[in-house]
């Protein structure tokens, strides 16, 4: 096995996903099959190869430090699932 049920539980916590037992079991089997297929990457000697993040060689983009956004609180809050005045409402995080 490339990945265990315990590892699946750990990764699900890192990913902030609640999985029920049936999902955990299915996820373990599927990810195991995919990771086994991916083992072929290990067959390539890449010790002398630089990694590629993306194909562009872009310089950092510079611009004037000028405000261009239009601030419209109502428009920005319109899609929020819970709102309190001009704020996003979240569960209590400090005891």
């Amino acid at each position: 096995m490339k990945i265990s049920r315990d590892e699946i539980r750990h990764v699900a916590l890192l990913a902030r996903l609640a999985l029920d037992p049936a999902e955990e079991e299915a996820m373990t089997a599927t990810l195991d099959a995919i990771l086994t297929y991916m083992e072929k990457l290990g067959a390539l000697d890449t010790s002398a190869v630089e990694p590629t993040a993306h194909m562009l060689e872009l310089p950092a983009a510079w611009r004037e430090d000028r405000v261009t956004n239009v601030s419209d609180t109502d428009a920005l809050l319109a899609n929020a699932p819970a709102r309190d005045g001009d704020f996003f409402r979240v569960p209590k995080i400090i005891e």
Partner: protein, 493 residues
Amino acid sequence: MTAAFDQPTITDAARRLRAGELSATELTRAALARAAARAADLHAFITVAEEAALRDAAASDARLRAGKPAGALEGIPIAIKDVIATAGIRTTAGSRILADFVPPYDATVTARLRAAGAVIVGKTNCDEFAMGSSNENSAFGPARNPWDVTRVPGGSSGGSAVAVAASLALGSLGTDTGGSIRLPASYCGVVGMKPTYGRVSRYGVIAYASSLDQVGPFARDVTDCALLLGVLAGHDARDSTSVERAVPDYGDALAGGAKGLRIAIPGEYFVEGMEPDVERAVQSAVETLGGLGAQIGSVSLPHTEYAVSAYYVVATAEASSNLARYDGVRYGSRVDGDGTLLEMYRRTRAAGFGDEVKRRIMLGTYALSAGYYDAYYLKAQRVRTLILNDFARVFQDADVIVTPTAPTTAFRLGEKVADPLQMYLSDIFTISVNLAGLPAISLPCGIDAAGLPIGLQIIGPPFGEELVLRAARAYEAATDWHTRRPPAPGGSR
């Protein structure tokens, strides 16, 4: 509705609109009527923007009557994949978690379409967050292939391909991260193009894998495709990965012909298990191009077999990071748990995401997690370099590379749902192009024994869109596959 209304290309319709032979309102009404008539069997749209479209069409007609068209797409009905933001029009990314999301602003590509006078008829069905090869991962149910409604249209931009194939719009936008424009174009018998990474702005496009995602057009033929690309392409100060590079007149590239083009055929793209009709059609297309005066040569892209593995590490790692934003706070749905923030996050995401999205988030999180980063993510990035180098070597002596778009034609709904790895392998011929950031097109090159369209892929060097379009148009001008239409509604084969 006359037959002529059903079938115009963008180029034809634009000429007739300007000549006053046709109005944008008539054209838009015809598109909306077809979309409504085919909603049940094709399910190409998640949202049809009827009211806004008719308002935009009336504005187009006013400008046309005044002799002042806004741009190349004045009055042309266009559909947009539902991962691209449209101000005031619901944008779901095919996900439950964004089922009620209405963007407060337009993506740059949406704004460019509007500025060119296009009428946006609606938002097309797609795999959730563009993750899939069949459109079956849409939370709203799959789109279906107009050539045979028991088959998938391909994914992830399935609805965009269906809309063009069934004339529900004259052109459409998709996104392509591993083949999500080219595969559905191939399965639905239309033209679809993924531009070079950085050629088109991604501002306002819901991100899947940021080092791979690119927006591109679907059209009925190569001429329309070039026209749409010209509208979309160009630098955008709001997307730091868009490139400051002049946009050529892609229409000028179309007349070049195949004579003198150096075309490379990679042996690795003719594999065991390939559908014989696909292989025959592509070989025949290569002979056609040779007959038109192109020089054909065999080449090798030796790292092709590693592309699917490298892609599913890189793409899922980036997806796990990009999708962290769906946390039930700023937008999207929320499910409260036991009152803690952690449980709210976990339950919101468990309820909001479908199986394939969860799978990719898990895979990507695993590949980036402590102890596995070097073995998976860094390794995949090194393999990416090898794939990039393969292409660079071939393009030293070739103008374009020609391959099949996919090893088979459209498969049946449900056929690959239970086996994600088999589904991933549908993208075996398109994925390397994204890893290398290259431009590539899929265009029709045949019909198989089951009556389904076959796609030809033409790949160019970085920013070689003109070469790709030139080769594609030369082939199209010598053949009539692009004029074949799917059967009438209710047809299945």
